[in-house]
Symmetry: C2
Subunit: 162 residues, 2 copies
DNA sequence: AAGATACGTCAATATGGCTGTCCCATCTTC
DNA sequence: GAAGATGGGACAGCCATATTGACGTATCTT
């Protein structure tokens, strides 16, 4: 019996295309906010923290660490910078007083919204050009790239949608 | 007259979802090759150069610079490392002797193929889970994220497909 | 011959990660 | 109430990857 042609072999072309589009798409999208960040003397690492705090107010440090998948020290520096600039504030957890709950200040919210505008204009233009069915496919493939252990965390972000 | 509801407003949810999936998908995919790179004492920057040289043999330095969108100095270090390890070699351009044409050595090809295996297994699993129509949508949205000026460059990668 | 281009290189600097270790406050469990 | 686990902070030192700006050399174009 001849086995079915290996899908791994057949898909090299498609896989390379995906790798390349992901690289260019992701890097160009992230570059779109560099200017806004530079106005405050911040970098992309700061934006990532800002973004997830905006998304899940009262997030704890350890939850944010899991999202970003960096070390406590790296995150510490970033949060210090954001705190010093008055963009992020913490309060002690009501249930567990060891925890620090992270929130954006009003200024932080305004800044995050400003950065988000750049992301929105790039992404919504791409969505519009591609069409809604394409957007669904875009999401599905990306979901498949996320290791199963991380999926619940990502899915949780979608729950508290406006 | 009531204007149509602003699509920018309506799409915040979708845009946030895209931002998040892109972040997690991209970072998790790139992490999948770190182990292989570490075996040779190399980092992700080296892989990016290796990848595009594999993809377009006889690429010039300036073409590669445009792809990666980094500075000459940054790329110089990466290429020196790759040359020292016998993964990349250069020859003088036949038409324009100022140019250096970049190629992978046999060892370089084998190493790139090994790294590509990790990318292939992640991406092709995601493709398979999502289905072919989703893959098309995935590509379309990502294409829309690439600034028009860069699109020809990315499209050129698809021409010399196996 | 003059100027532009392709590439290399020097020096200095910034950012954002890492490891390992130790500490304190607080919660949980026995 | 004591022991241990957990959440968070902090020190020191390191590495990878990027930046800017200036300058040099070979080669191509006009």
């Amino acid at each position: 019996m001849t086995p079915a042609a290996s899908p791994l072999f057949l898909r090299e072309h498609e896989v390379r295309r995906g790798v390349e589009l992901l690289f260019f798409g992701y890097t160009r999208l992230t570059r779109s906010i560099d200017e806004g960040l530079a106005e405050h003397g911040l970098g992309r690492a700061h934006h990532r923290a800002l973004y997830f705090i905006a998304r899940q107010p009262d997030l704890t440090i350890s939850e944010l660490l899991k999202m970003l998948a960096i070390t406590k020290q790296s995150l510490g520096r970033v949060l210090t910078d954001l705190g010093e600039r008055g963009l992020v504030e913490t309060r002690t957890g009501a249930i567990d007083r060891r925890q620090k709950l992270l929130r954006l200040t009003e200024e932080g919210k305004a800044f995050e919204a400003q950065l988000f505008d750049a992301l929105r204009s790039s992404l919504s233009a791409a969505y519009a050009a591609a069409g809604q069915e394409s957007v669904t496919g875009f999401w599905r493939v990306l979901e498949g790239l996320i290791p199963p252990d991380d999926r619940a965390m990502v899915a949780a972000l979608q729950k508290d949608i406006l």
